[in-house]
Symmetry: C2
Subunit: 345 residues, 2 copies
């Protein structure tokens, strides 16, 4: 075996060695055309392919067929613990189906979202999984009519026709609110997320309807809207509430990161959680059971959602355009120590 394998072995090389035409080799290798060639020949071909260590050139293939077997994933911020499990779910099921995943982190910036979207388009990805959707998202809207299949995950857009894999936010918030109501809380604050992303928006609405359903009137003074799903935003919003001297015994944060910020604020103002104020999160992200106090939150199976989105996308790519339909997963409540009975004031 020569150590100088200058150039990779090509379809033509193996054809030459067998003294057949390249197309024959090609046909043997392609399952769809495999049956066109005689078994004996196929046998010989496979042997030579094996022996020579032939590997198809993906560029030539893609150039010819316009299929890249690459799918793109758009993530708002990969350091947010929410997203790695999703990526993992996507990557696994895609890899199993023979696809490679290319990743772009948009840093929560619509401008970078657009740029990355274009890059993926130029790379001719076979499909796109998007976790960066804003509620009204021009990039996605205008790309919909395009030729490239895409699935939203976690966040969706205004148009209900858009295929997506999300969780049932209304249900999740319902669980939280009735949990708190059952503990006797009546004055409950809501630390809402950025209203241009669907999850934050829906959770906000859901909070109000859940309150009413529990026989409580949501107080506008107790609703704070944050600009992003970040810890310090949560801290700021909760501090605001506390500073203004608002009266409340529980805070429903739109996500775990915000909730952690709230916890900070509670400590900062010399209050205790849950004795003075209960706090809840959303997502049950990793390690949220290790913080002090362990956070009551809502669990979403993020990896599973990634996998589902991938499967949905595969169906679309493989032409089953009818196989549309979105999926909304039912989250479950996980009660820990950040919620407790309302203080007997």
């Amino acid at each position: 075996m020569s150590t100088m394998k200058r150039t990779r072995v090509t379809l033509r090389d193996v054809a030459r060695r067998l003294d057949v035409h390249p197309s024959t080799v090609s046909r043997v290798l392609n399952p769809r055309t495999r049956s066109m060639v005689a078994d004996a020949m196929a046998e010989r071909v496979m042997e030579a392919v094996e022996d020579m260590g032939y590997r198809p050139n993906p560029f030539a293939y893609s150039l010819k067929t316009n299929r890249s077997f690459i799918i793109g994933v758009l993530i708002p911020d990969i350091t947010d613990p929410l997203f790695p499990p999703i990526i993992q779910g996507v990557e696994r099921t895609m890899a199993a189906a023979g696809y490679t995943t290319i990743l772009a982190d948009t840093d929560n910036d619509p401008e970078r979202q657009r740029v990355n979207f274009d890059i993926m388009r130029e790379r001719q990805v076979d499909g796109l999984i998007i976790a960066t959707a804003r509620y009204e998202d021009p990039v996605i809207e205008e790309a919909r009519s395009g030729d490239i299949p895409m699935i939203l995950v976690i966040r969706t857009i205004a148009d209900p026709e858009m295929p997506c894999v999300i969780n049932d936010d209304a249900h999740g918030i319902g669980l939280i609110v009735s949990h708190l109501a059952a503990l006797g809380h009546r004055r409950i604050a809501h630390i809402a997320g950025p209203q241009d992303v669907s999850t934050a928006r829906v959770r906000h609405r859901a909070f109000e309807v859940a309150m009413r359903k529990a026989g409580l009137e949501p107080d506008p003074a107790l609703i704070q809207i944050c600009c992003s799903f970040a810890e310090d935003e949560g801290r700021g919003a909760a501090s605001d509430l506390l500073e203004r001297g608002e009266k409340f015994t529980a805070m429903v944060a739109a996500n775990d990161l915000l909730a952690i910020g709230c916890l900070d604020a509670v400590k900062l103002f010399g209050k205790r959680c849950p004795e003075d104020i209960s706090v809840t999160g959303y997502n049950d992200m990793p390690f949220v059971d290790k913080i002090q106090p362990p956070l009551t939150t809502v669990r979403i199976p993020h990896d599973e959602m990634g996998a589902m989105a991938a499967r949905l996308l595969l169906k679309r790519i493989e032409g089953d355009a009818t196989a549309s339909g979105s999926i909304a997963i039912r989250p479950e409540l996980v009660v820990r120590e950040s919620t407790g009975p309302v203080p007997t004031a």
Copy 2:
């Protein structure tokens, strides 16, 4: 503007429109050959390119040039909070340089590492950033002689010639041990990581030399070796120690995840941290300051390391093969509340 843009516009299309040869257009677009064509012509070409919305076909380009402008990243487990910042660092600097990043999660499995490595090879990546190296790693060893540039990050292999971006583990462990020694600890346990990865191995050795340098003799009975960097491994190892009734006042875990497991075990056995036993981690991963008690650990700038690895790789890809050399970053100690003075027994 027709809404039916059936097929993307090609180099030939814009050439035809200008009544020039495709090669001319190609030359205008390529910075290296740009000077070959007259300015006036170049002007016209650019205009047409702009106007027709021409985008080069990456497959054709790659097929011709054997350059993919794709780099691969091999990660052992993307849900380990250690790695997202690295990925982010890599992705950002690569994107800025015009490269796309493809990601593979090997799930800590050598077999999957090999498979993913091969896939990337077949995809003709221009370079590889590898965070999955084991100390003796046949896959990497045998790929070294290959044509494809690669940089290790975080973990390295036995051969010191291999280019990598790591942290100075010996220094980091030194900081930890002298911190504990200064607090009066004399019987210090070490919860080591899997010895087939360089970080765990080096930290283990470093622990012993740091102990001696502090005038203490490391007790083999106080050294536990875990099979993976996982929480439950840490819990198991620490429980073992406690169950055996070993006497010690501090535990140096090889990383934060193991440390969290240790903390669990301490609680489980009715001890308090840091009053009874001090615990330290390594990495200063996100949220480790929020757990109870906030963890004393060693900080590594993961995103920065990702970026450095990317820059190093770019240099190699761009032919500056001389620009080798590895980088070892000096970590810093961050003291929180999981370490305290030795209990006055």
